[in-house]
């Protein structure tokens, strides 16, 4: 067993365990913290796959910004311990049963139908992170310039939308 494979297996266990922890924990704050750990393990997978820029973006944007926003909202609403409501009794087993079918189907199709290559080859160029960054930047600002600009407009619209949604107008009736 190579070092890469051992690292992958351990991190895969951590990723699945934290995802299950997100699912199971009763307290929303614990769920958010489990999700942070899951994002960090996925960032390490990106490093293993030779994508250092995406790994760093994952840590700063997902684990940093998005999850802090989640934690702010959880604590703002005081929703970390919601009272239990009556649930449909057949819903949980049915959902888990269908989820298992979905996982089996997805893995089966992805493995049998879409097999691009056996192993992941790591090119010598991609191991050098500065080279990866340079190539990514060149592609982003030449071939993908229009999507990049559209994304900036999308972020602006999302910001304005969030402000409009939570903004209370002066003199408006409650």
């Amino acid at each position: 067993m190579t070092l890469d494979l051992a690292l992958f297996l351990v991190l895969a266990l951590v990723a699945i365990a934290t995802a299950l922890g997100l699912l199971m924990s009763r307290n929303a704050v614990y769920s958010a913290l489990f999700l942070v750990l899951n994002f960090v393990t996925v960032a390490v997978f990106y490093l293993l796959l030779g994508a250092p820029f995406i790994a760093m973006a994952q840590v700063t944007v997902y684990a940093g910004a998005i999850m802090v926003l989640f934690l702010f909202v959880i604590m703002l609403l005081g929703a970390d311990a919601l009272p239990k409501t009556d649930v449909l009794p057949w819903q949980k087993p049915l959902a888990i049963f269908m989820a298992v079918i979905l996982a089996g189907e997805a893995a089966f199709l992805l493995i049998t139908k879409a097999r691009p290559a056996g192993d992941i080859l790591q090119p010598e160029a991609a191991i050098n992170s500065m080279d990866n960054l340079r190539q990514l930047g060149m592609a982003l600002f030449s071939d993908y310039l229009l999507p990049f600009e559209v994304t900036s407009i999308l972020l602006l619209v999302a910001m304005v939308g969030a402000i409009v949604l939570t903004h209370k107008e002066k003199g408006a009736q409650k």
Binding site: I54, A57, F70, A107
Partner: protein, 100 residues
């Protein structure tokens, strides 16, 4: 090296856990986090494929997915805060009327 199939199976498992979270949890915030988990699983599959075919396009798509996810979270959390203000609850079973 790690076979790409392992990454694909891991991605499928994470995606399925996200789907299960959306199906069985009633807390709107947890459902939202499960959606983030699914986006993340899809990103992992994209990066694995992009690394297998030695192409940078996949990494750029993942970059855009992360940006869109950030925008989605900002608007979604604003909506959840508004719903909480009017209903005093973020249980999705309570959200059964269009009029606040």
């Amino acid at each position: 090296m790690v076979p790409i199939n392992y990454y694909i199976i891991l991605s499928a498992i994470l995606f399925t856990i996200g789907v299960t979270g959306v199906l069985i949890r009633r807390n709107a915030l947890i459902i939202f986090m499960s959606i983030e988990l699914m986006l993340n699983a899809a990103n992992l599959a994209i990066v694995a494929f992009s690394s297998a075919i030695q192409s940078f396009s996949g990494q750029i798509f993942v970059f855009f997915v992360i940006a869109v996810a950030a925008a989605e979270v900002a608007v979604g959390l604003a909506l959840i805060v508004e719903i909480f203000k009017s209903k005093r609850s973020i249980d999705v079973d309570q959200m059964n009327s269009l009029k606040g």
